[in-house]
């Protein structure tokens, strides 16, 4: 025994290896994290506990990263660098979350100010395509068309055609009008006399006088 060990000792090397042990819950997050801290893990052996998904496996292979799956290695003390990396990752996530929140606020702010206002009458033969909310203060004459992907409010009686894909419409219509809400033609006799609000309620189109 002693000779064998000596034998092994003379022809072999002995050294410590740094290990980064993890389990992969979200392989995309894992890959993103790894990409960011690639340089940090240059000398590491990666140990994956649990399943190693295909994409992650391919990533590790492609980047010549040494890894083992589902092995119980004798543990040494946890390296401070790894902890630091994890802390940094936490902070980064927080920052990203903040950024996402800010972006969402900016978007809703923009939507509220993204109202197009038209106060001239729309003549026969004109087709308006509006990709935002629209407030029309003038008439929509017979033979004129509006295609609106946002919400729509028309203050004067509609005699032309309206195709709206927004959350709601508010208008009154003469019997000459063609009113289509999300591909469904609305009976214009229901929109006579005064402003009506048209929207989806429980999967059906609801029309209520304002």
């Amino acid at each position: 025994m002693h000779n064998f060990l000596l034998e092994v000792f003379l022809k072999s090397k002995q050294y410590s290896v740094k290990v980064y042990e993890t389990n992969i819950v979200d392989e995309d997050k894992f890959i993103t994290f790894f990409e960011k801290y690639k340089l940090l893990f240059v000398d590491y052996l990666i140990v994956i506990n649990g399943a190693l998904p295909q994409k992650a496996r391919e990533y590790l292979e492609a980047n010549s990263i040494y890894y083992l799956v589902n092995v119980m290695l004798p543990r040494a003390k946890e390296h401070k660098v790894v902890i630091q990396a994890l802390e940094d990752e936490k902070q980064q996530n927080q920052l990203e979350q903040q950024k996402a929140q800010e972006k969402l606020e900016e978007l809703s702010h923009r939507l509220q100010n993204n109202l197009k206002v038209i106060d001239t009458l729309v003549r026969s033969g004109v087709e308006l395509v509006v990709e935002q909310d629209l407030l029309l203060l003038g008439r929509l004459n017979s033979g004129a068309t509006i295609r609106c992907s946002g919400n729509l409010i028309v203050t004067q009686v509609v005699e032309g055609s309206i195709y709206c894909e927004g959350n709601f419409m508010m208008l009154s219509a003469s019997k000459k009008a063609t009113i289509v809400f999300h591909g469904v033609q609305v009976d214009v006799s229901l929109l006579a006399e005064k402003l009506h609000r048209i929207e989806f309620e429980n999967g059906k189109i609801s029309i209520k006088p304002v």
Partner: protein, 270 residues
């Protein structure tokens, strides 16, 4: 520098040519030098309404092609010294119209006349677009019925996008004449009311002209209705011409005529 007014309608048969003839004559009767030009190339009929068909030798296309001078082609009315007339070509069609040539003709006419009235063709094709290209103002003639109003709306839309004045950042003055108003049909609710028409078209009213059977006879004889002292239509055209010359004439309420007394009398005899 003269004012160029195009008489348009969109729909045909509403009374553009009759209006052009009568307004032109009316303006001349107010002692302003006026030329009426028939721009309905290939469908000459303004000459007939004015009673000048036997005097047409050269036409507007020949002037624009520089075959003849403007002086040679212009016809001066013998009855009304301030009225001049330029006939349309009867043999050619609208494809001969050229923007540059029209521009030069209009400039020449502006230098000579106070009022230049252009009779546009019906429809919204190239002939119409050429007529409105260099005008300062437009008179839109409608009948109080739905298809006329919708076609007029379309024609106005094109005017507001294709005329040179609009392209230069200005706006063409627009005036509405509601022609062939049948009073009894109006009162019976069978005709569109003026307020509704003005709502839809969104332009200023220049005048209203009642239906008058005498107009057919006037056309046949080549004596525009404005010359007929007894005609209500003629009187209406006279008021319109006066307004164009700058006079302030209140609009006559044709829709509620003062025939109340007459109705009561006939009632007694029934």
């Amino acid at each position: 520098m003269g004012k160029v007014i195009a008489v348009i309608s969109g729909k045909g048969g509403v009374g553009k040519t009759t209006t052009t003839a009568n307004i032109g004559l009316g303006i001349a009767m107010h002692k302003r030098k006026c030329v009426v030009v028939d721009f309905d190339i290939g469908q000459r009929n303004l000459d007939m309404i004015l009673g000048l068909e036997n005097r047409v030798v050269y036409d507007v296309v020949q002037v624009m092609d520089k075959e003849v001078s403007l002086k040679q082609a212009l016809i001066k009315s013998k009855e009304q010294e301030h009225l001049y007339f330029l006939a349309a070509s009867q043999t050619k069609d609208k494809s001969v119209l050229d923007s540059q040539k029209i521009k030069e003709l209009i400039e020449e006419l502006r230098n000579e006349f106070e009022f230049i009235i252009l009779d546009a063709p019906a429809g919204i094709e190239s002939g119409y677009e050429h007529t409105i290209e260099f005008c300062d103002a437009a008179i839109i003639v409608v009948n109080p019925e739905v298809s006329s109003i919708r076609d007029a709306d379309r024609a106005i839309g094109i005017l507001d996008s294709k005329s040179q004045k609009v392209k230069d950042g200005g706006e063409v003055e627009k005036y509405l004449i509601i022609n062939r108003i049948n009073v009894s049909m109006l009162q019976g609710g069978e005709m569109l009311k003026s307020e509704d028409i003005l709502d839809i078209l969104g332009i200023n009213l220049l005048g209203k002209v009642p239906e008058d059977r005498g107009i057919i006879d006037a056309s046949n004889r080549g004596k525009p209705i404005i010359l007929n002292q007894k005609s209500e239509a003629g009187a209406a055209f006279n008021r319109i011409a006066a307004r164009l010359c700058g006079e302030e004439i209140p609009l006559k309420d044709l829709e509620n005529p003062s025939s109340g007394l007459l109705k009561k009398i006939t009632g007694i005899f029934k």
